[in-house]
Each structure stands twice: as structure tokens, then as C-alpha cells.
Amino acid sequence: MEKLTIVEKKSGNPVVVQLTGEIDAKTAPDLKLQLELMIGNGGTNFVLDMAGLTYISSAGIGVLSAILKFLKEKAGDIVLCNLTKEVKDTLDLMYFTKKVKVFANVEGAIASF
């Protein structure tokens, strides 16, 4: 089974989270749980590094959308970086790239906060 690996690469503000593998209806709940734990630990701004993410389904978009809404209500945010062209195409398809900022690399994403 293709797994989703979620690693907190940097704590603080923003929190940098590295996502590797595939997000689907099976793995999306893991993503939600891990992001909620990081929010519970004080995280409000997040950089999601998707360099190693090879697939995202609508379940993944749903989790990110719900977390994004929650964070925005607390003056927080999510930004994305290092998207593969396939993942970007899926996010574009669901207009999610109109809801979040997308950066070419982690440094640019961190500097946006």
C-alpha cells in the first residue's frame, strides 16, 4: 500500500510539514489528525511541502479546505510549495489553488509569512 508520510520539518511560525506519498480516501484522515495535533500544539501558520506527494484525491482537498477555513478564522493560514505538475493539476481542477498561495520552494513559502 502506498503510504502517506507526514513529517513536521520545522516547528514554530510557520510550521513546515513535509508530505510524501499519496493522499486518498484512506490516508486523508491521517493528514487531518496530524494537522489537528499540530494546531493543538499551537501551530497557526503552515507551509505544506509537497515535493514528495505524488497523488491527491478530493478527500485530501476536503481535509485541507476544512483545516484552512479553521485556521483563517484564527488569523492563520496554509501555503503550499514544491507541487508536482500532476498534483497542481488536480488542485487547479478543484480551484483549490485559488484558495491558497502556492510557492516554488520552501524558502519562498516561509518568507511569505
Binding site: 500500500m1 497523488y55 478527500a59 479546505s65 477555513k69 505538475k85 488536480t90 481542477l93 478543484m94 480551484y95
Partner: protein, 143 residues
Amino acid sequence: MKIQKEKELLLEPNLEELSTLRKEIRAFLGEEGRSILRNRIVFCLDELVSNIIEHSGLKPTYSKIELRLLSYPTFWKFILIDEGPPFDPNLVQGKDWLDLYESGAEGGFGLRAVKKLAYLHYTRNVNSSKNQITLHFRKGKHE
């Protein structure tokens, strides 16, 4: 038109099967066509199968989801069959994109996205009590 290649998959109605499903579809598609198109095909089938697993109430021990993959010279054809209750995805009138995002909804994105990418031909076989959805994707210049 002559079939160049075909494959049939039988899947347990279990979310654990999704990664295998995607792997099998990718292997079937090979390197033919652009990677974006291949990813969109994988996405559509992954979403439709996820929907069946999550909403049809099928029990893994008793039912299988059947996916037929067919490659023709100018297009791919995919036929998805399940034994769930009648469900025509074309009749679903969900929230629009703006409402989905503004409400913070976690669901409702998938079917809407699939319908942007492909026409879903739905039939219900009354005799076998099965749903069938057929999708086509063009190959070549028109991708």
C-alpha cells in the same frame, strides 16, 4: 474498433484497495499519453471507486467492484460495475465550488471534479441489480 489491450480488476469494497487500484491503472496506461491525462484518468476512477466504497454499503465479503479497462487506438474506455443500490452520479446536485469552500465542507468535491473531466454514462442493469458507469478518454492530439 479493435481493442489493443484490456484488463479486468475485481476489487474488495475497502479503502485499502485504492492504492492497488491506482497502481493497476497506471500499469495499464503505461507511458501512453501525457502524464497529466494519465493522472486525470487515475483520479476519476479513484474517486468513483472511493464513492462506491464509502456510500454503497457493500460488504467486502459478499461483493466485488469490477473495473474493465480497455485500450483502443484512439481512446481508452473504462467500465465500472458495482452491486450497490441504484446511483446515477449525473443526478447528484451538490453544492457549487464556492459554497463547498466557504462552508469548510470535507466532501462533495470529488464527483463535481470528475464530471468536469469526463462524461459519465450510467446504466442500471435491472436483471443483475448492478450499476454500470462508462467513461471514455481520447488519446493523442486531443488530450
